[in-house]
C-alpha cells in the first residue's frame, strides 16, 4: 500500500519536473522579445481596461506609450497620480489634465416629460430611437432604455424615473456612454463644475413646453443674471461655458424652466 502511494508521488513528481523543465525551456527560447518598460508602465496603469484612452485596454496603451510615444495624459481613471508616475518613469513632462466626468444633459424624467406612445421592443436606446423616432415627446431628451448604463465599465450610470443619471464620484470619463447614446446627450464636463443646464432641446419655447416642463425654452434669463459669459445661447438652448467659473447661483432660481441644476 505504502509502496503504491510512494510510487504515485514519485511519478507525479517526475511528471511535474519534466513538464516544468520544458516550460522553462520554452519560455526562454520561444519568448517574444518585448521592451520591459511596457510591462512596468502597464503596472502603473489602473488596470480598468475601459478603453477610454482610445486603445484596446491598459496593456495596449502601455505599449503605445513606450513604443509610439503616445500622450501620457489619456488615462482618465488613473488621473493625475497615474500620469505623474508614468511621467517620472518615462522621463517625459506631464501636461496636467483636468478631471472630467460624464453628464447626461437632460432632466426630463417621467414626471415632467411626456411620452408620445407606448414603445414595445428591444430594450436599447438606439433601437427605441429608430422606432418611429423614439417614444419621448421631446425628440432631444433621454429615452431611458439604459444603453449607457449597460456599457459603463464602472456602473456609474443609473436609470431613475426614466432617465439616465451619472454618479460623478464613480465616473472615470472613459466616454463609452457618449459613443452609445443615440441622442448625443452625454457630454464630458469638468468634474469640479457644479452648475449645468440639463437640457439639450434646440426646439423653440412653445414646442419644448408642449413636450416637457423642465426643458430650456431659450428665454436667455441665465445670460442676463448669470456671470458674464458663463451661459451662452446655441439657438434656443442655453449652454454652460465651463471655462468661466460660476459665482452667481441665483440663476438657478431665475430659470423659469428649472433646467439649471446644481449637483
Amino acid at each position: 500500500m505504502d509502496n503504491i502511494i510512494l510510487q504515485s508521488f514519485a511519478w507525479i513528481g517526475l511528471l511535474g519536473l519534466i513538464i516544468g523543465a520544458s516550460l522553462a525551456v520554452a519560455a526562454k527560447y520561444l519568448a517574444v522579445k518585448e521592451d520591459p518598460r511596457i510591462g512596468e508602465v502597464n503596472e502603473l496603469l489602473p488596470a480598468a481596461n475601459c478603453g477610454g484612452c482610445g486603445y484596446a485596454g491598459c496593456a495596449e496603451y502601455a505599449k503605445a506609450i513606450v513604443m509610439d510615444h503616445a500622450e501620457i495624459n489619456l488615462c482618465a481613471p488613473g488621473g493625475t497620480d497615474c500620469m505623474n508616475a508614468i511621467a517620472a518613469f518615462m522621463g517625459v513632462r506631464a501636461t496636467a489634465t483636468e478631471k472630467m466626468t460624464a453628464i447626461v444633459l437632460c432632466c426630463g424624467d417621467d414626471e415632467v416629460a411626456k411620452r408620445r406612445f407606448a414603445y414595445n421592443g428591444i430594450n436599447d436606446c438606439a433601437a427605441a430611437h429608430a422606432t418611429a423616432g423614439g417614444d419621448k415627446a421631446c425628440t432631444w431628451g433621454c429615452l431611458g432604455y439604459g444603453s449607457c448604463a449597460r456599457v459603463c465599465p464602472v456602473n456609474a450610470i443609473r436609470i431613475e424615473k426614466g432617465i439616465a443619471k451619472v454618479d460623478k464620484t464613480l465616473c472615470i470619463a472613459c466616454e463609452k456612454c457618449i459613443a452609445v447614446c443615440p441622442r448625443h446627450l452625454i457630454k464630458l464636463v469638468p468634474a469640479a463644475a457644479e452648475i449645468h443646464v440639463l437640457c439639450s432641446s434646440k426646439d423653440k419655447g412653445p414646442a419644448v413646453k408642449k413636450a416637457c416642463s423642465t426643458g430650456c425654452i431659450g428665454c436667455r434669463l441665465c445670460t442676463k443674471f448669470g456671470d458674464e459669459g458663463a451661459f451662452v445661447m446655441d439657438g434656443f438652448l442655453a449652454k454652460v461655458d465651463y471655462s468661466i467659473p460660476i459665482t452667481k447661483e441665483e440663476v438657478i432660481e431665475k430659470c423659469p424652466a428649472k433646467c439649471i441644476v446644481k449637483d
Binding site: 414595445n120 428591444i122 436599447d124 422606432t131 418611429a132 423616432g133
Partner: protein, 449 residues
C-alpha cells in the same frame, strides 16, 4: 391569354389569418373631400420634394406643389383645389418628421391636369416615361420607388418579363383586390403601356388563389390581349407579394443576392401603380389619390376608400363610422406584417398608404425580451433561407460582422420570423438595427477610402 397555376413555390413563408373578409366585399367609395389636407413632401423613396408654392397661394387640383428634387425623387401635386394655409413639419407614417404643405380645400373643384396621350401606342417611349415621371408615380405597394427610374433599366439589362403584382399577401388589406375587381380594364391598359415601354415580350399578372373574383375580372378584361400574356395563380402564402419571392414563383428565377429584379430580366409593378400609369397617360392625371383599406376590429365599418393624399387618419376613421367599443391599441399604416405603427391620428396618407389598420388590445401581440430557445421555426419560415435566430443573437451581442457574414443584408424584413417566434422576440427590429449598423459601417468605410 391563359390562366396558369404558378409552377414554382418559394421555400418558407407563413399562413397568417388573412381577415380580408372584413373589407373585400366593400366596393371602392370616394371619401368626401376633407376640409384640410396636409400633403407630405416625402411620399416616396429618395429625396423629399421641394415645396414650390408659398403660403397663401391658390392651387388647383393637380397643381404641382412639390418639385422633384434629384434623380431618385418624385414630384407632388395638389390633390384638391384650395389655398396653401401653412408649410410645416408633420410626422409621416414611418415616424420621421417631414415637410408638408397644408391645403385648405374649397368646393370650386378647379383642375390643372396634363393633356391626355390618347394614342399612346404611337407615342415615343421617352414621352411615356416623361409622363410617368412628371405625374409623380411611385411604387404604390409599399416601397415608393419612383416608377420612371424602375422603367428605365440600363441597356445591358434587357427586360423580357413584366409582372403585375396583384398578390396582396398582407393580411387585412384589400385595396389592390378591389382595384382588380373594379378596374381590370384600366389595369390592362396600364400593363400594356409598361410592356411597350420596356419592350418585354412576356406579361404575367400574379394573383393569389384566395381572390377568385379578381382572377375572374382580370381574365375577362385581358381576354383578347395579344402575345405571351398569362395570369399566374399563386398559392396563398405570405410573402407571396414580395418582389423576389414573386419573381421566383412566376418565372423560377432567383434575383441574385444584393441584385435587382432587372438582373434576371424582370420588372414587377403593383396593380395600383399600373392603374396610376393608365390614368397618367390616358387621362393626364397626376398621382393625387389612391384606394386605402380602412379595416381592423376597432373600426365600425371597414371600407376601401378612394382618398386624396394628405387626408388625416382621423378623417378616414370618421368616414368609416369611428371606433368600435374596443378602442384601438395600435394604429398601423399598411398591413400587419410590414406596416408602421403610428402614434397619432393626425398622420396624413401618402402614395404608399395601402391600408389603415386599427387593432384593439386583444389583437395586439406584445414583444418580449425572452431569450431565443432555438426552436428553428424562424428558420423554417424565412423565405430568404436565413437563420433569423442566429442573426438576432449576433446582433444582440453587437457582433455586426458576424451577422453580416451570415447574410444579414439579404433580409427583406417581411416579418415571417417574428410572426412564428414562440419567445415573441422582436426579430425584425433586431435585423433593422443590424442592417443600420452595417450601412453605417459601409458609409464610414466609403468616406475613408
Amino acid at each position: 391569354m391563359q390562366t396558369i397555376k404558378s409552377p414554382y413555390n418559394f421555400r418558407g413563408g407563413i399562413h397568417p389569418a388573412y381577415n380580408k373578409k372584413l373589407s373585400n366585399g366593400s366596393a371602392i367609395e370616394s371619401l368626401p373631400l376633407p376640409a384640410v389636407l396636409s400633403v407630405p413632401m416625402s411620399q416616396h423613396l429618395g429625396a423629399p420634394a421641394k415645396p414650390c408654392v408659398k403660403v397663401g397661394d391658390e392651387v388647383k387640383k393637380g397643381t404641382l406643389i412639390g418639385a422633384q428634387n434629384g434623380f431618385i425623387s418624385a414630384p407632388i401635386h395638389s390633390p384638391a383645389s384650395g389655398k396653401v394655409k401653412v408649410i410645416t413639419d408633420v410626422a409621416t407614417a414611418s415616424g420621421r418628421p417631414c415637410q408638408a404643405i397644408v391645403i385648405e380645400c374649397d368646393e370650386s373643384n378647379e383642375t390643372e391636369f396634363l393633356p391626355p396621350i390618347e394614342n399612346w401606342q404611337k407615342s415615343d417611349k421617352d414621352d411615356l416615361l416623361t409622363r410617368i415621371g412628371e405625374t409623380g408615380i411611385v411604387g404604390m405597394g409599399g416601397a415608393g420607388f419612383p416608377t420612371k427610374v424602375k422603367l428605365s433599366p440600363p441597356m445591358d439589362k434587357p427586360i423580357d418579363t413584366v409582372i403585375i403584382n396583384g398578390a396582396e399577401c398582407e393580411p387585412y388589406l384589400t385595396s389592390d383586390h378591389r382595384m382588380m375587381v373594379e378596374h381590370a380594364k384600366e389595369i390592362r391598359i396600364g400593363a400594356e403601356i409598361i410592356r411597350s415601354i420596356l419592350g418585354a415580350k412576356t406579361l404575367r399578372i400574379a394573383i393569389e388563389d384566395n381572390k377568385p373574383d379578381a382572377i375572374k375580372a382580370i381574365e375577362d378584361a385581358f381576354q383578347d390581349i395579344e402575345g405571351d400574356v398569362a395570369i399566374a395563380v399563386l398559392h396563398t402564402v405570405y410573402p407571396q407579394g414580395s418582389e423576389k419571392q414573386q419573381i421566383y414563383a412566376v418565372t423560377g428565377r432567383e434575383v441574385p443576392s444584393g441584385g435587382l429584379p432587372m438582373d434576371v430580366g424582370c420588372v414587377v409593378e403593383n396593380t395600383s401603380t399600373t392603374f396610376a400609369i393608365y390614368e397618367a397617360v390616358i387621362k393626364g392625371l397626376p398621382l393625387m389619390q389612391r384606394v386605402i383599406t380602412v379595416t381592423g376590429d376597432a373600426v365600425q365599418k371597414p371600407a376601401n376608400l378612394l382618398a386624396p393624399f394628405g387626408t388625416s387618419y382621423q378623417d378616414l376613421i370618421d368616414a368609416c363610422g369611428g371606433f368600435t367599443e374596443d378602442k384601438p391599441a395600435k394604429v398601423i399604416s399598411g398591413g400587419p406584417m410590414m406596416g408602421f405603427a403610428v402614434s397619432s391620428l393626425e398622420t396624413p396618407t401618402g402614395k404608399t398608404s395601402s391600408g389603415l389598420l386599427l387593432l384593439s388590445k386583444k389583437r395586439v401581440s406584445q414583444y418580449s425580451s425572452q431569450a431565443c430557445i432555438a426552436c428553428g421555426r424562424c428558420v423554417e419560415a424565412c423565405p430568404m433561407n436565413l437563420i433569423p435566430s442566429e442573426l438576432s443573437q449576433f446582433i444582440e451581442a453587437e457582433d455586426i460582422e458576424g451577422a453580416e457574414e451570415i447574410a444579414l443584408m439579404n433580409c427583406i424584413e417581411c416579418g415571417s420570423c417574428a410572426f412564428v417566434c414562440p419567445a415573441h422576440r422582436p426579430l425584425v427590429q433586431h435585423m433593422r438595427r443590424g442592417k443600420a449598423a452595417v450601412m453605417a459601417k459601409r458609409m464610414a468605410a466609403n468616406a475613408k477610402g
